[in-house]
């Protein structure tokens, strides 16, 4: 069966932080790693707490983890199990989780702050 990676982000303006008071390079890095992984054919979905709270409420393991506070975010789920908690994994870790071989590590692209959301209907805020 093919692997699905789901990333549950903390409430944030956007996945790059471009529209916050300061830009976190770590967010830009991870966003680009996600983009890379998608290009390897892996299904990756990202959910931002302030934009897609429904996804958090509907995913039982995520909702349970949140009972311990919002510091558990970001959560990375592989299929339906929590694989990483409280930090953004490196590209290598992501690749390993998805069962993809990393050929050559190139610097990576980023996902979007103020871009339209991918598929999910829930509205949410940034900025």
């Amino acid at each position: 069966m093919s692997t699905t990676i789901r990333v549950f982000d903390p409430a944030m303006c956007c996945s790059t932080g471009v529209c916050g008071p300061g830009v976190d390079p770590e967010l830009a890095r991870f966003a680009s790693d996600v983009d890379w992984l998608q290009k390897q054919g892996v299904k990756v979905e990202r959910f931002n707490l302030s934009q897609q709270p429904a996804a958090f409420a509907e995913t039982v393991v995520v909702k349970q983890a949140l009972e311990r506070g919002t510091d558990v975010l970001p959560l990375v789920l592989v299929n339906d199990r929590i694989a990483v908690e409280g930090s953004y994994p490196s590209r290598e870790t992501l690749a390993a989780l998805a069962g993809v071989t990393v050929k050559k590590l190139a610097p990576a692209p980023t996902a979007s702050c103020c871009g339209p959301s991918t598929g999910t209907k829930s509205s949410g805020g940034c900025c």
Binding site: P10, A11, M12, C13, C14, S15, T16, G17, V18, C19, G20, P21, G22, V23, D24, P25, L27, A28, R29, A31, S32, D35, W36, R46, N48, L49, S50, Q51, P53, A54, F56, A57, K63, L66, E67, G69, T70, A106, P107, A108, P109, T110, A111, S112, C113, C114, G115, P116, S117, T118, T120, S122, S123, G124, G125, C126, C127
Partner: protein, 594 residues
């Protein structure tokens, strides 16, 4: 009134602050309603004065104006719209997600961009969603001063373009995550805006050079947006009845000179003039007379005669307290058109003349600080926060730092994000924080944009401050320290500028309350363009002077310190200083005797 005969469904009134947009918009709406139409009057100004002018408490939904059958009005309040939006998002998850998670969503949805988009959403609904407003034959928009309004009018195009171009990634479009779904609405509001059969844009101006120049710039920008139908109203044209009164003569001269120098582009626009009235335009009865133009008999008799002399100190008396620390931030704030730029320039010039290093700047995209100063002054540097330049600089910086280790695809994604209209908010805000930071090393005099825009900037300061406290943060030092600095009364001195009239005084009063809520105490109030200390004989001016007394009193009660600046005629080709003017007027008064 020409445009009343041919009024399309949507009428927009825009122009420099203080030119009388609200008065003309209200008078138009009343006149249309009295012709039997159903009219909705809408203020898009975050610091709306519709409630006071119509003497009716308004909200975000249309409310009937009791004294004018057929007329309804509402205020688009960006903060309230953002709050309602936030509640729509968060409400369903209370008790479903843990409290801490709900709180963190709320905090995230308190930013400047959410506020802007929520307000813009409301505006689009009125303009582009026919069913929502279908029961009205006319919608009259009283807008915020030009800079802010142009941005609002440009947003439909900006978001539409961004949505079409931005292919991937998660969205920070906030209220517009429904955005993609909203795209049809934005397209429709943009189409309505430029279509001459549906929308008329009225540029409101005064017979003053700066106001006419701004009307011309707005005309050009609106033409570039594709707006087809524009008209010009020159409001408050003074007609002297006593030709011996030197102040009356000066005012007439100033009006005529400005009208004669009207920019060529503006001359092509259909124009009407409205004379200056001897009374303030508050209340439906007063507004009904705006297009009539005939002052009510006995209006003067209703106001008690007052001693024209005043014991209020002048601008010059504030200088010692302002310069005491040898550095810091001085900010002028207030309603559009009260003379914030003039007062800021004048104080900056005076401090520089006294040997201080001074930086004069403005957050108002429509202000002309350099023109207010005139030529070069030793020790004085004059700049402005240019939203386009700041946005470009900020984008470059992000690409250089956060984008440094990304490959081409990653950089392309980041660039795509940066092309969002949100970026401008951040960039301007950071530039503002940088200016305030400079106050550590000398004097920084900041002329702010009109109240509404400034409130949003302060709101951003507060929400970013919370965000900075909450996150480990990559925010620059000046952003972290912004709010504490604004709250430090020894470092930041805020001057609330007003005219001796109802709406600017009451807008400043509301602004003072908002500042105090943010734990910021204004330093002083400045009553500008006062006729009170002048010797006058023209009956209309005498009447206007009499009406000032109660506002001088009101300001004295509200303000920790007051300074009064007399009306004077700016003389061209001369470096200008209100501080000098004060002396000149004092001398003239001494010469003319009590």
């Amino acid at each position: 009134m020409d445009f009343l005969e041919r009024a399309p469904r949507n009428l927009f009134f825009t122009g420099k602050g203080g030119v009388g947009k609200t008065s003309v918009a209200c008078a138009t709406a009343i006149a249309l309603a009295e012709r039997g139409r159903r009219v909705l009057l809408v203020s898009t100004d975050p610091a709306s004065n519709l409630d006071e002018v119509l003497e009716t408490a308004l909200g975000p939904e249309p409310r009937p104006i009791p004294t004018v059958p057929g007329l309804f009005a509402l205020n688009i309040d960006p903060e309230a719209a953002a709050l309602a939006y936030r509640e729509r998002v968060v409400g369903p998850y209370r008790g479903v997600l843990p409290d801490a998670a709900v709180r963190s969503i709320e905090e995230q949805l308190s930013g400047a961009c959410t506020v802007e988009i929520a307000a813009f959403d409301e505006f689009s609904k009125l303009l582009g969603d026919e069913p929502a407003t279908g029961t009205f034959e006319h919608i009259v928009f009283d807008t915020a001063p030009t800079g802010h309004t142009l941005r609002l009018l440009e947003l439909p195009a900006a978001w539409t373009g961004f949505l079409q171009a931005n292919a991937g990634g998660t969205s920070c479009l906030g209220p517009l995550a429904g955005l993609k779904a909203q795209q049809g609405l934005y397209d429709r509001s943009r189409a309505a805006l430029i279509d001459g059969t549906r929308t008329l844009l009225v540029l409101v101006s005064r017979a003053e050079r700066s106001a006419l120049d701004e009307a011309e710039r707005t005309r050009r920008e609106l033409s570039e947006l594709g707006v087809e139908r524009l008209e010009l109203v020159v409001n408050g044209v003074f007609v002297a009845t006593d030709s011996r009164d030197p102040i009356a003569k000066a005012m007439v001269h100033r009006n005529q000179e400005a009208l004669a120098a009207m920019p060529t582009g503006l001359r092509q626009v259909p124009k009407m003039e409205i004379p200056l009235l001897p009374f303030g335009l508050v209340g439906v009865d007063a507004l009904r007379r705006l297009f009539g133009g005939v002052p009510e008999d006995g209006a003067a008799a209703r106001t008690a005669p007052v001693d024209s002399r005043t014991s209020l100190p002048g601008l010059v008396d504030l200088i010692p307290a302002l310069e005491a620390n040898g550095r810091g931030v001085i900010m002028t704030m207030g309603k559009g058109g009260v003379g914030k730029t003039t007062v800021a320039a004048s104080i900056a010039v005076e401090l520089a003349r006294r040997g201080h290093k001074v930086h004069l700047t403005t957050t108002d995209p429509a202000a002309h600080v350099q023109a207010a100063v005139g030529g070069a002054v030793e020790n004085l540097r004059v700049t402005r926060i240019d939203p386009a330049l700041e946005t470009r600089a900020y984008s470059d910086e992000v690409l250089r730092t956060a984008g440094a280790n990304l490959d081409a695809a990653g950089r392309a994604l980041l660039e795509e994000d940066l092309s969002s209209p949100c970026t401008e908010e951040i960039a301007v805000f950071r530039a503002f924080a940088r200016m305030v930071d400079e106050g550590e090393r000398g004097f920084v005099v900041i002329d702010t944009a009109p109240t509404g825009h400034t409130l949003l900037l302060l709101d951003a300061a507060e929400s970013f401050h919370r965000e900075v406290l909450r996150t480990s943060g990559n925010a620059p030092e000046e952003v972290r320290r912004l709010l504490p600095r604004l709250r430090d009364a020894a470092f930041t001195k805020i001057l609330l500028v007003t005219l001796p009239e109802a709406t600017p005084v009451h807008e400043a009063r509301a602004l003072q309350r908002d500042l105090q809520r943010a734990e910021i105490e204004p330093f002083a109030w400045i009553v500008n363009q006062s006729l009170t200390p002048l010797v006058l004989t023209d009956p209309l001016l005498v009447q206007r002077r009499a009406s000032e007394a109660r506002f001088n009193r009101e300001v004295s009660e509200l303000a920790p310190r007051v300074a009064l600046v007399p009306w004077f005629e700016p003389r061209s080709g001369q470096r200008f200083s209100l501080v000098d003017e004060q002396f000149r007027t004092a001398e003239a008064l001494a010469g003319s005797g009590p």
